[in-house]
Amino acid sequence: MIDMSLFLEVCVDIAFALLSISFIIIVYRIATGPTLPDRILALDMMVAVAIGFIATFGVRSGFYLYVDIAIALGLVGFLSTVAFARFVLARGSTEDSAIGRKDGGADR
């Protein structure tokens, strides 16, 4: 019979490892994202991964108060994404957008 608390510890470690790899990949996308909406989308995704990280840390530490922090972080992430979208809309056309390209290709 496998000890279930040991199983939970191993699962928490695996979850931390996968979430850390996700953080690194998302930071790569934020750094090298060709356009501004790519970076905004990666920041939004990073907030989602941070919420998952906080929930996993709540399972490990036993402090279930962390769910409040996760909810507050989700609210801040949603509002910042909305504000960034309005900023993209208000900024209008810039030279790094694909306006006027006849080939219709996105920036790579």
């Binding site: 996968l18 989308l41 989602a48 991964v49 998952g52 993209v88 809309l89 209008g92 056309s93 996105a106």
Partner: protein, 134 residues
């Protein structure tokens, strides 16, 4: 015995949620343009963080924590499509075009562009002060 079953459920939920977050992050790198990346980020990413919050709720087994975790999950499920829609709409209106792998641009004929945005040949007459302020 009951704690063993609960630990099993929590462990499986944690690994599944983290796996979905990793899939979303890989999709964020592998896909080609911002509209494709939105599929990965706003669906798999939200599912990943939601499943991890559900794992916290199952692990606590207290009514207040379960209620707050479910409320947070519902909040994320409601706000993720809204923010993705706003970002996609802003990016499309400003002029970021889909990549060539998108064979058909279904929004090209149907979307209503505000004055001052869109193709440069349509905004040449109104001048620069007709920006989209909404």
């Amino acid at each position: 015995m009951m704690e063993g079953v609960m630990d099993l459920v929590v462990g499986v939920l944690l690994v599944v949620g983290a796996f979905f977050a990793l899939v979303a992050a890989i999709g964020l790198v592998r896909l080609d343009d911002v509209y494709m990346r939105m599929h990965a980020a706003s669906k798999a990413g939200t599912l990943g963080s939601g499943v991890l919050l559900l794992a916290l709720a199952v692990d606590s087994q207290e009514l207040d924590v379960v209620t707050r975790a479910i409320a947070g999950l519902v909040f994320f499920m409601l706000t993720a499509p809204i923010s993705a829609h706003l970002l996609a709409r802003a990016a499309y209106l400003v002029g970021y075009r889909p990549c060539k792998a998108t064979y058909r641009d279904a929004l090209a004929d149907t979307i209503v562009k505000p004055e001052g945005l869109g193709q440069p040949e349509t905004q040449a007459d109104d001048g620069e002060d007709a920006k989209y302020t909404h």
